[in-house]
């Protein structure tokens, strides 16, 4: 892999380019960071989907889609997520590398231009977005919200975070509430768009074989018109648990879901996040982890039981699906594994296999266009930006003592149970 080149196109607008000729495709990924807040989460989320729907040049979904289709099925996708206390709007443009165009089209140049159309020339008039476009995207986003409830695993995991972080910014949903989405107007969208161009932190990453300077130049020129005042990227981390929370919700489903949330008292930019991550993988990140081996394989209590660490927020979540009659047994078995880690009962085999698993998946990110482009944007809030190789060195250097220390800091915060039954 070739090294990443970084240039700042404007205040808080970073352009990353990675030259790579191994792929059949190219990608231009834009991550737009805004502070997550109750007042703006809905309008920002909606804005992202309205922007990728169409633009002035391709003023409806069909025209936009056919333009992309004729460029050999190129894609423009929008998605919205939370990255700790920031809201991240992702606009992702990708298509075939120029050399595979049957009729010699300059696909990469067309797509760079299209990104600018999407960001800077949306279908706006008199300080408003188009009403019809907004209504269609409102419907889509409300359906997405509803379908999170359709998937009980997703639902249970979100209820845990809502309960655990009820008094924190992080407790806000990626798209705010249903009522807030419904209340957004076309003027609100316009203001949010202008606010985004003025204040958001932009990370734009180009991966591929074509010349990225063309794309950088076009984007830079578009930002020239804008008086930038970029926001800081920041997050609040909670270091204490005042009161353990237990919430049980009943539902008419077959399998109960158990979600256990811990505070890790360790988050970016602290260097100990590396040890905490390794600790969570030893506990429940692989098919040779403590949870998989003991709770699933030995006790046959579940099909899945895994741990996930959110290093930006300092939270670790363990989740599992169990028979209602086994909820208590599973809870006990899981917490016993956590105690075991705290007491230092970790074998060299467990440590080494977790290290190897992390290294294997980390080195693999350079082999996909998406992996490469996300690798850097996922570190935008870190103290240091590592290459995959550097990240592996850090993982390798972690000692057992550091892992045990990370485990000792774990504080049980919230248990959420979705209890199956009539």
């Amino acid at each position: 892999m070739n090294p990443i080149k970084q240039i700042e196109l404007a205040d808080g607008v970073v352009f990353n380019s990675i030259y790579d000729n191994r792929f059949k495709t190219m990608k231009l990924l834009t991550n737009i960071f805004l502070p997550l807040s109750e007042d703006t989460a809905s309008v920002n989320a909606l804005l992202c989907y309205v922007l990728v729907r169409c633009c002035k040049k391709y003023p409806d979904m069909v025209k936009m889609s056919r333009k992309l289709g004729s460029l050999y099925g190129a894609e423009v996708n929008g998605s919205v997520s939370k990255m700790s206390d920031m809201q991240c709007l992702k606009i992702d443009i990708g298509g075939l590398a120029d050399k595979y165009a049957i009729n010699n089209e300059n696909i990469s140049a067309e797509l760079s231009q299209l990104l600018c159309e999407v960001l800077f020339n949306p279908k706006v008039e008199n300080g408003k977005f188009d009403e019809g476009d907004m209504l269609q995207e409102k419907r889509q986003i409300l359906d997405m919200l509803d379908s999170e409830f359709n998937d009980k695993r997703v639902y249970a995991s979100q209820r845990l975070i809502e309960t655990m972080c009820a008094d924190e910014v992080y407790g806000i949903k990626w798209c705010g509430t249903r009522e807030q989405i419904e209340a957004v107007t076309t003027e609100d969208l316009f203001k949010a768009w202008q606010n985004m161009l003025k204040t958001a932190h932009f990370e734009i990453t180009f991966v591929g074989e074509s010349n990225p300077e063309n794309a950088a130049e076009v984007i830079k020129n578009s930002f020239k018109e804008i008086n930038r005042d970029a926001v800081d990227l920041s997050t609040d981390v909670v270091y204490t648990v005042f009161e353990e929370k237990n919430v049980t919700e009943k539902m008419d489903v077959a399998q109960s879901k158990l979600e256990i949330g811990f505070r890790t008292a360790c988050a970016e930019p602290e260097p100990e996040t590396v040890a905490t991550r390794l600790m969570s993988v030893i506990l429940g990140g692989t098919a040779s982890s403590k949870l998989f081996n003991n709770v699933r394989e030995k006790k046959s209590l579940c099909y899945y039981c895994m741990a996930r660490y959110q290093r930006l927020k300092g939270i670790m979540v363990i989740e599992s699906g169990v028979e209602t009659a086994n909820i208590e047994a599973a809870k006990e078995a899981i917490l016993a594994e956590v105690e075991d880690m705290k007491n230092g009962n970790i074998s060299d085999f467990e440590i080494n296999s977790a290290k190897l698993a992390i290294i294997n998946s980390t080195l693999g990110v350079t082999d996909t266009v998406t992996g490469l482009s996300s690798w850097y944007s996922s570190q935008v809030m870190d103290a240091e930006v590592d290459t995959p190789e550097q990240a592996c060195e850090k993982i390798n250097a972690v000692t057992k003592e550091e892992i045990v220390n990370a485990a000792k800091k774990l504080m049980l915060d919230t248990i959420f149970v979705l209890k199956a039954g009539e």
């Binding site: 069909v62 595979y100 098919a287 394989e297 296999s353 290294i359 693999g364 350079t366």
Partner: protein, 424 residues
């Protein structure tokens, strides 16, 4: 000596090797220079639908539902320990899955490929089942089945299949039921294993920065020669007609889900036919075309809308799926539109855009070692070639596609499956 041949594609600039190994196994290697990732997948032509079979003209055996999937779980347990524990020493990310017509074991890694490759070849060739280990799996798979019981997407599909197929086993849940898996014994597992896990019935596909020598040094050491046998699969006679046109069920969900299926006449689909079908399916599902937009404007679908050409031994159908506030209206609109399209044909403009979308998708999939190897498995089991398929798509004409379209959809042979939210 094993026979090695090279398959090249001028269009993509790529090539792969086909190795007919002495052991009876066909191996494919798709080199990806300068990639860190390596991926290997070892598959057998054996899935949940193969529940009645005979070996070399012997008696027909009927086995419990879900046994192929159960066998997949139990293969990881070896006499000298668990395969996952062995992989833990190499760092590979290993997994397996069972579908309607195949079972596959796979791993991806960046380091220690040789060691992981040995583990894969070893454990898939070393069945080890005891009363005790078989009993232990009941709880784990029981929870897997319960998890799918709660998945509205899974249930809406199987309700559709049950409504579409009267006797073909494609309508039976891949994992079986808690009751059917209780009948599984070590003897039955061995029977299935020795019938279907014969190297002549299997395929091994590898992709990454590797050479034929890298593959053969392990393959020659580990693969145990298999005699070729004749496997016969039995399926009860399946009527042409669907069982009924509509089924619904209630679930604790907020957005209704639907599957809308056209049952077709069962036949083996050729590579050229698949290319034509892919273009047709794109016209019917992509936002670039009229059907998606009609449905979207009428608020009958959202972005989850999709369709699949669903075929295998003894079944061929097309299944539309998605979330919809009015699934019945969505189904009607799809039906009317397709009837019309059959009459009027796909326009030259639409044809060209759809073809480009399919072509772009296929080329993009060659970026990824996993996608490549998975495609090679399917191509081998379907007697097709991944490069020839790209050429077939590029060479498709509008006439081919319109002729195919006329034969594909029988409006009188459809069924709609719906999951509705529970009424408060």
């Amino acid at each position: 000596m094993s026979k090695v041949s090279e398959i090249k594609s001028a269009r993509t600039g790529d090539m792969y090797y086909k190795i007919e190994h002495d052991s009876g196994l066909t191996i494919y290697l798709y080199p990806k220079r300068d990639y860190n990732s390596k991926y290997a997948i070892f598959g057998t032509r054996y899935g949940s639908i193969n529940n009645a079979f005979s070996l070399d003209g012997g008696e027909v055996k009927k086995v419990p539902d879900g046994i192929a999937h159960y066998l997949e779980h139990k293969m990881f347990e070896c006499e000298d320990g668990d395969a996952f524990v062995k992989y833990a020493k190499t760092g590979a990310n290993a997994n397996a899955y069972t579908s309607f017509n195949k079972t596959c074991y796979l791993f991806s890694c960046t380091e220690n490929f040789d060691e992981s490759f040995e583990i894969l070849l070893d454990f898939v060739q070393s069945p080890y089942f005891t009363e005790e280990t078989v009993a232990k799996e009941q709880g784990i798979i029981g929870q897997e089945i319960r998890m799918y019981d709660d998945s509205a997407e899974w249930v809406v599909m199987f309700n559709l299949l049950k409504n579409m197929y009267k006797s073909h086993p494609v309508q039976i849940d891949i994992a079986g039921t808690v009751e059917s898996i209780a009948e599984i014994t070590p003897e039955l597992l061995y029977d299935c294993y020795y019938t279907f896990y014969n190297l002549n019935n299997m395929v091994l596909c590898v992709s990454g920065d590797l050479s034929v020598e890298d593959i053969l040094k392990t393959a020659d050491k580990k693969l145990k020669k298999c005699e070729k046998h004749t496997i016969e699969n039995y399926f009860e006679n399946e009527p042409y007609e669907v069982c009924s046109h509509y089924v619904e069920q209630s679930f604790p969900i907020s957005v209704p889900l639907f599957n809308f299926g056209y049952k077709g006449k069962s036949h083996k689909v050729s590579q050229k036919e698949t290319a034509e079908i892919d273009i047709i399916m794109t016209v019917l599902t992509s936002p670039s075309f009229e059907l998606y937009n009609k449905l979207d404007k009428a608020e009958l679908i959202n972005q989850t809308f999709d369709a699949e050409y669903f075929d295998g031994e003894g079944y061929n159908s097309v299944i539309f799926s998605g979330e919809s506030r009015s699934p019945k209206e969505a189904g009607e609109m799809i039906k009317d539109y397709i009837e019309n399209l059959k009459q009027n044909g796909i326009s030259p403009d639409d044809f060209e855009i759809a073809k480009r979308e399919v072509y772009g998708d296929l080329l993009s999939s060659l970026n990824n070692v996993e996608a490549i190897s998975n495609a090679l498995v399917d191509a081998h089991f379907n007697d097709t070639d991944i490069f020839g398929f790209i050429d077939d798509v590029a060479g498709c004409t509008s006439d081919d596609v319109n002729n195919r379209l006329k034969k594909m959809f029988d409006t009188d042979n459809t069924t709609l499956s719906v999951i509705l939210p529970v009424k408060e």
